[in-house]
């Protein structure tokens, strides 16, 4: 087996390295029209151009050399770096709960990959213990890497795989389950697992990090501690997402898998419960329930795994002036379910009506959700709403669009009978539709308003 000695280099840059007999990890003296450079040749990110060679200079910095300026190059030594997370035996402590961590490929603890510049997750209990030794005070840990995919690549196959793995662990007597996951589609997975793993006797906690653990200010370690604590010690036997409450390192929130949504592209406190309050607050010492009622931890192992999924469901995000051919195209492509994301109380324009009628006639199941994210679909308020219901569109209350999409996929994986589809969709498994919206379920404060400014000055955001 020959090792790649020119990792990531291609084209002209690769030719230059070959010409001067210099390898990646070789120490080199490079003469250029801009002067002499000395350092270790590093692998190059595959997405970068073929006009530069990357070096680590003795002060630890990286610099790029333009190959068009190179007049000479000499390898004077060779020293390959070995990236390794120190692995320490994860201690077993009698009396602490047993938690299983499933890995899906998201970053919890990690190290850097030079070639892609990407972050490689640390995962084995030993690696995790090396990086976050506090975990050993919370639980006894066992880990299993189920997949290695980025969050955006999570899909039906992974949902089903996870659900089955969770079922198996529960049967074998685990005290709690943590799923490490990229954050982008964490809430989709939260919904999928809620529908697929019903009647849970133990907590299933989804966790990720908004700042990878290769940085000192990462939220990964604290999120992981919170998640392990929630899985091992809380009595909330539901599928939950556990992430930062405020952006400060203060406490985490436990969100119901069906009511949570990622609301900011980069904030640590990006996950919010929509239309309700979170289940609980959590810090390293205590779990403080916010919800009065929730499914309690049980000693039995009677979980109900329902690993169904249809990939013939799609979403249609309505915009003013949308033409009927968009929906026609989906119908013609063979989609059996469409989640419409409508405006206001749940509206689309009249121009779409023929397409809706056509889809309905062809047996496409259509459900209405909201672009406003907050609030209920109210299709009785205006005539247009009533028209649409008559044409076969079913309102889904305050179900979040992504949750409705996942649920319809799950439902159509089981049945195609319109009445049964409707019944399953509108019967909440776990609060994906709630009967009422509390006054504090919608709080989007506006910056600049004096009392809000006063509030954020005093309370850590």
């Amino acid at each position: 087996m020959s090792e790649d000695i020119f990792q990531g280099y291609k084209g002209d840059a690769l030719e230059t390295l070959k010409k001067y007999n210099t390898r990646v990890w070789g120490q080199a003296e490079v003469d250029t029209t801009r002067g002499r450079f000395f350092g270790t040749i590093l692998p190059r990110s595959e997405n970068d151009d073929d006009k530069h060679i990357v070096m680590k200079i003795p002060t630890g910095y990286n610099v790029g050399i333009d190959i068009r300026t190179i007049t000479g190059m000499k390898e004077t030594g060779y020293k390959k770096a070995n990236y390794k997370i120190p692995e320490k035996q994860f201690p077993t402590t009698p009396g602490l709960p047993h938690v299983k961590l499933f890995g899906t490929g998201g970053t919890i603890a990690s190290r850097l990959d030079y070639r892609t510049g990407a972050v490689i997750p640390a995962f084995s209990p030993g690696e995790l213990y090396g990086a976050v030794p506090e975990l050993a005070d919370i639980c006894n840990l066992d880990t299993e890497k189920l997949f290695a995919v980025f969050s955006e690549n999570m899909g039906p196959k992974q949902y089903i795989g996870l659900a089955k793995a969770i079922g198996k662990e529960i049967e074998q007597g685990i005290d709690g389950i943590v799923v490490g996951h990229g954050t982008d589609t964490l809430h989709h997975t939260g919904a999928a697992l809620t529908f697929m793993c019903q009647n849970l006797p133990v907590p299933v906690v989804l966790v990720g990090s908004q700042r990878s653990s290769d940085r000192p200010s990462s939220d990964a370690a604290l999120n992981l501690m919170h998640a392990m604590k929630a899985a091992g010690q809380s009595d909330i036997a539901e599928v939950m997402v556990c992430m930062f409450g405020p952006t400060s390192d203060e406490y985490g929130l436990l969100h119901k898998g069906t009511r949570v949504r990622k609301m900011h592209s980069s904030y640590r406190s990006t996950f919010r419960t929509i239309g309700d309050t979170p289940l609980a607050m959590i810090n390293r010492n205590t779990i403080s329930p916010i919800h009065k009622t929730y499914n309690k931890r049980r000693n039995d192992r009677k979980v109900n795994i329902l690993p169904y999924y249809s990939d013939e469901v799609t979403m249609l995000y309505y915009y003013p002036g949308m033409k009927p051919d968009t929906l026609d195209a989906l119908t013609d492509a063979g989609y059996r379910g469409v989640i419409i994301v409508g405006t206001g109380l749940g509206h689309v324009n009249k121009e779409l009506y023929p397409a809706i009628e056509r889809a309905h006639a062809k047996g496409v199941h259509m459900f209405m959700t909201l672009q406003t994210i907050w609030g209920y679909v109210h299709m009785f308020v205006y005539d247009t709403g009533r028209d649409m219901m008559a044409k076969g569109i079913i309102p889904t209350g305050n179900m979040l669009p992504e949750v409705a999409f996942i649920k319809l996929s799950w439902v159509l994986g089981q049945t195609d009978d319109p009445a049964e589809v409707k019944r399953l969709m509108l019967t909440p498994v776990n609060d994906e539709i709630t009967p009422r919206e509390p006054y504090n379920g919608y709080l989007v404060y506006q910056g600049g308003v004096p009392e809000v400014e006063d509030f954020i000055r005093k309370v850590h955001k």
Binding site: G35, G60, Y61, R111, G117, D214, S248, E453
Partner: protein
């Protein structure tokens, strides 16, 4: 216990054996003897509109109490790309600090607090950094790679500073030698600290993210004055572009010092160049003294692997401890701990710096690492005898202390005691090795205290959030057109003009050379006169006048242009400047009126000479003949100033 031991005498004796002399008395031989070596890291803020990696405005500052929100973070060490934890990182983690950032909406966005990834690097800043690199004769890189440099003290909310090399291997000329440069980097500035008490450190984020360059030299300086000269040169070079910030904190330097057999110690954040000589002098001797202490300890303990401290809690004991802070701690039920340092008699009072002994090194670390606020310890070799001999006797018994042992008492929160004991043992064990690798904070008197463990190259990571930025030849060549003449050439020009040397520092530090040059070239004002006008007169007035900030120095060009246009003598600028600085908005005609200037022809002035000669006759006897010219000049100066050249007048009187 040995109560006949005299710590003061020991301190003086160890100071003497280190050969410590005042800097004024030190010669090159003094420095060669201890192998003085020093280099610099000179930081300079760039004059840009926006910050380096976000679009917040640069250069707006807030008061401590003026903030809109607070955010809390804790810093955790992460693995380096070599799979190791950095030493500093682990130390900072040990301190378990809660870091609070005070944010003002106007000066910080979500980038500063690490809730948004970086935006592309500010091009204005990059251009300036390249121009300065070219002036510093550095080899410009082909591609700029943003690197993360870890800082766990919380001074940057991400836990790392984004920084990138622009050039490597350059040089600057000093009077008698050339100093080599290692590199120049562009980086984001850090937060400003508001306070650091116990386990809470508070920062504000106004300065955070402002573009900064760092010029790093090789340790080529062999005496303290050379370090200052090199520092001045780099600062003047930066200023010569006119594209860097000035004012407090805009330029700061870290000074690296070592002595023969010592270690590179970094003195951080030296705000004034003039502090450098004393700081480097004191630090080199501190290291030399620590090496002597090492030799002494090694004599006592040929193998120190087994050396350990022992300790005993003093809680609930009546030991007659009346020293204020200690009594207070006892009253508040804090932990009080006696520590025995076997065989350390004489070590605690060993000289380290003027006014400091080895015991201070321990106390400084207790503050920083174990978060014990000062005063945080008393010991058997303190000059002030805070604890009586009887009390020490009792404590010595508790710990079975022998004649050659030393004792320390520390106090503070129970939870910090474990770390505190580790700190004491660790620092003592380091004394067997010599000089610890550390960064130190400076004081105006030239002494320094421990700040943190010196981080290694291990703390550098590629920034996965940024793409590399290629620097094409064409771009660099276009920047070459902007760069000013070299500082060294400007020096030579001033010399050729016979401008007095004592004006140079002011002219270069304020970057007034281009102004002087322009006035000389365009208005043909005598350069020597103009040099004094700027380097003495302007400096003097700007220092005194409260309103001087409103005065635009470029107005000096207009002033001379006005004088030339109106055929007034340039010397009139001297009295006019006082008025101009006091009233920056006043026009030149009004300035002339307010200094009571009147126009006289040459003939009118010279016509007064015979009259004055007559008038001087009766005075002559008393004052003597040679005072005639002076006296007459005095009588005519007001009238002549601005109308004719004074030296011409003097010649006419003779």
């Amino acid at each position: 216990m040995d109560f006949s031991f005299d710590p003061k005498a020991n301190y003086e004796a160890t100071k003497q054996s280190a050969g410590y002399v005042n800097r004024r008395e030190a010669t090159q031989e003094s420095y060669d003897r201890i192998g003085f070596m020093s280099g610099l890291e000179v930081h300079q803020q760039l004059l840009t509109k926006e910050k380096l990696f976000c679009h917040c405005p640069a250069g707006l500052y807030n008061k401590h109490s003026d903030f809109d929100a607070e955010i809390i973070r804790h810093m955790r060490p992460t693995l380096s790309e070599l799979g190791e934890y950095d030493g500093t990182a682990l130390m900072e983690f040990k301190t378990r600090k809660e870091i609070i950032y005070r944010i003002k909406n106007e000066t910080a966005c979500t980038y500063e607090v690490d809730d948004t990834p970086p935006f592309p690097i500010d091009r204005e800043a990059l251009g300036i950094a390249i121009e300065i690199s070219l002036l510093s004769k550095l080899n410009i890189v082909g591609e700029v790679h943003i690197t993360r440099k870890q800082y766990l003290d919380g001074s940057i909310p991400t836990g790392f500073q984004r920084t990138a090399i622009i050039g490597v291997e350059g040089e600057i000329p000093l009077k008698n030698k050339t100093i080599r440069l290692i590199q120049l980097s562009i980086e984001e500035d850090s937060c400003r600290e508001i306070s650091d008490i116990g386990h809470v450190r508070i920062y504000k984020t106004d300065r955070l993210g402002m573009p900064l360059i760092e010029t790093v030299t090789y340790p080529d300086c062999v005496n303290p004055d050379e370090v200052m000269e090199a520092c001045n040169y780099i600062r003047f070079l930066n200023r010569s572009t006119g594209k860097v910030r000035s004012g407090i904190g805009a330029g700061r330097q870290d000074v690296n010092v070592s002595c023969k057999g010592g270690t590179r110690v970094e003195i951080k954040g030296v705000a004034h160049t003039r502090w450098i000589p004393e700081l480097t002098h004191v630090e080199a001797f501190r290291q030399w003294s620590l090496l002597l202490l090492r030799d002494e300890l090694k004599k006592r303990f040929p193998s120190h692997k087994e050396w350990r401290i022992s300790h005993n809690s003093l809680a609930g004991m009546d030991l007659g401890l009346t020293y204020g802070p200690l009594a207070k701690a006892i009253g508040e039920n804090q932990a009080v701990m006696a520590v025995k340092l076997p065989g350390f008699k004489g070590a605690l009072s060993h000289f380290t710096q003027p006014g400091n002994m080895f015991a201070n090194e321990i106390s400084d670390r207790l503050k920083v690492i174990a978060c014990l606020e000062k005063p945080n310890m008393v010991h058997t070799e303190s000059f002030d005898q805070e604890v009586s001999a009887e009390s020490w006797q009792m404590i010595g018994k508790l710990l079975s202390a022998k004649k050659d042992d030393a004792l320390i008492i520390i106090w503070g929160p129970q939870t910090d005691m474990k770390t505190a004991l580790e700190v004491i043992e660790e620092r003592c064990l380091m004394a067997f090795e010599g000089v610890p690798n550390e960064t130190r904070k400076s004081f105006p008197d030239g002494t320094t205290i421990f700040e943190r463990v010196l981080p290694g190259a291990d703390r550098m990571y590629p920034d996965t959030d940024s793409a590399p930025i290629p620097l094409e030849d064409e771009y660099i060549n276009s920047l070459k057109k902007n760069i000013p003449t070299e500082v060294v050439e400007r020096y030579q020009q001033l010399k050729k003009w016979q401008v007095p040397e004592d004006t140079y520092t002011y002219i270069f530090s304020k970057n007034y050379f281009p102004l002087v040059e322009r006035i000389v070239n365009e208005l043909h004002i005598d350069p020597r006169f103009l040099g004094c006008f700027v380097g003495h007169r302007l400096k003097n007035l700007m220092g005194k006048q409260k309103k001087s900030q409103q005065f635009r120095v470029e107005k000096i060009y207009d002033l001379f242009a006005y004088l030339v246009k109106n055929q007034l003598d340039p010397s009139l600028a001297w009295p006019m400047l006082t008025e101009l600085i006091a009233h920056p908005r006043m026009d030149f005609d009004s300035v002339l009126a307010s200094i009571k200037f009147k126009r006289f022809s040459k003939e009118e002035i010279l016509g007064k000479i015979p009259y004055l000669e007559e008038k001087f006759a009766p005075i002559r006897r008393k004052e003597g003949e040679h005072h005639k010219t002076n006296w007459m000049m005095g009588q005519l100066r007001m009238m002549a100033t601005g109308n004719i050249a004074l030296n011409y007048l003097a010649n006419q009187i003779k």
